[in-house]
């Protein structure tokens, strides 16, 4: 079977990846729930306004801004950090796969997986300048 020659077997990598994803989801969900509670405590009686699209403020759009906002314990910032962790979780899983393919000395799939990682990083970091 492919991938069971040396290093990690496909299945071992899968199990590790499964745990990684679970940790990511639990961390994200905790941040989101804490953030919502903080936000509702301060702003719960305000009126929701989603009818017209205005777009989020700059500090909630980019990784740097979200981190800064979250670490000052703003409700919205903490939620957005949780959502960012959620987006980062599958990306971390792809990065892990590159490592696994490297250990298996599977050059073709190191390249294929790197392409996927580059596209993902472009979408999160590169496309932001427009």
């Amino acid at each position: 079977m492919a991938g069971q020659k040396q290093g990690w077997s496909d299945h071992q990598v899968e199990i590790f990846a499964g745990n990684l994803l679970r940790c990511g989801v639990i961390t994200a969900a905790s941040l989101v729930i804490i953030g919502v509670l903080i936000y509702l405590f301060h702003n719960g009686l305000a009126l929701p306004d989603y009818k017209s699209f205005k777009g989020e403020p700059q500090e909630l759009r980019h990784v740097g801004g979200i981190l800064k906002y979250a670490f000052s314990f703003h409700g919205r910032g903490l939620i957005q950090l949780g959502l960012l962790v959620l987006i980062a979780t599958p990306i971390a899983r792809v990065a892990l796969s590159i490592f696994a393919f490297l250990r298996q000395r599977d050059k073709l799939y190191v390249i294929v997986t790197s392409i996927v990682l580059v596209v993902l990083c472009y979408s999160l970091f590169g496309a932001s300048s427009h």
């Binding site: 299945h11 679970r22 990511g24 989101v32 777009g55 909630l60 959620l86 990306i91 979408s123």
Partner: protein, 278 residues
């Protein structure tokens, strides 16, 4: 209605959407966007952003269950991810150019298709005995656990599968849904993967594809934290709960009801889109 009641209502609806989506295998995303736009009057751009985030959560949350079984094929998944992530970039880019009415109409049409697929029982094609040269070069052939050992399988139709995956990625990026139906279809029908392998591999791919679209949406300010939070938590918990009850439910009747609901939402989305209300 204040934000506390609004958040609670969205949380409850998302729980139900996630639960039904997981029982029927369609995912919560297909109903979240129509629900938010038609029932809660949310702008479709915020709705798509929130839905996409919930798709990532569902996929990652379900992954550990699939992993234990050992069905997914990492090489096929990763190779096809090249197509779905590029598709998602394109879809998310197009979404920023199209008017919301057109997006609503496209969404409605995709919903009709999903409803049709839910009704129709898709039969898995016969496994292929002869290896395909391209699939062999890409090391796609594998084996999966069956009662009493491992069963090996061969893959074919790589170019068609790749193109279909690009389409699935574009739909996911454009509409904020997982488009798992198209993914499983491509892997089952075009590439002749065994059903369990294609479902598990597709689950992993859905998360990566959605993360790609979500990156763009985040940068464009489509992802509102206060709206996305109850949607994500609700769909995630609902789908985890649904997965536990998968084998108890009478799926046939449920699929009929769910696809009827989807059809109604589809008609409403198209109507509102044409009328310019979305």
């Amino acid at each position: 209605m204040d934000i506390i009641s609004f958040t609670t209502l969205i949380l409850l609806s998302s729980l139900i959407a996630g639960f039904l989506g997981s029982l029927t295998g369609l995912g919560g995303g297909v109903v979240i966007v129509p629900l938010l736009t038609l029932v809660f009057g949310v702008d479709i751009r915020y709705a798509i952003g929130a839905s996409l985030i919930s798709v990532i959560a569902t996929s990652s949350g379900a992954a550990s269950a699939y992993v234990k079984e050992g069905f997914s094929n990492m090489r096929i998944g990763m190779f096809l991810e090249v197509a779905t992530t590029l598709g998602a970039l394109l879809g998310a880019f197009i979404a920023t150019k199209l008017s919301t009415s057109i997006i609503a109409v496209i969404f409605g049409l995709i919903l009709i298709h999903s409803s049709y697929l839910t009704m129709k029982r898709i039969s898995s094609p016969k496994p292929i005995v002869k290896p395909d040269p391209l699939a062999t070069r890409l090391k796609f052939d594998g084996s999966y656990p069956v009662p009493g050992g491992w069963e090996s399988y061969h893959v074919q139709g790589v170019p068609v599968g790749f193109c279909l995956m690009f389409l699935a990625g574009s739909i996911s990026g454009l509409l904020g849904i997982g488009s798992g139906a198209v993914k499983v279809l491509a892997m089952d029908q075009a590439m002749h993967l065994p059903f369990k392998v294609s479902t598990a591999t597709s689950n992993f791919m859905i998360g990566v594809t959605a993360a790609c679209g979500a990156g763009i949406y985040l940068n464009r300010g489509y992802i509102d934290p206060v709206l996305s939070a109850p949607v994500t938590v609700g769909v995630l918990l609902g789908s985890l709960f649904g997965a536990r009850h998968l084998f108890m439910a009478k799926t046939r009747n449920l699929r009929i009801i769910f696809s009827a609901v989807i059809l109604l939402l589809a008609i409403q989305m198209i109507y509102s889109g044409i009328k310019g209300r979305i």
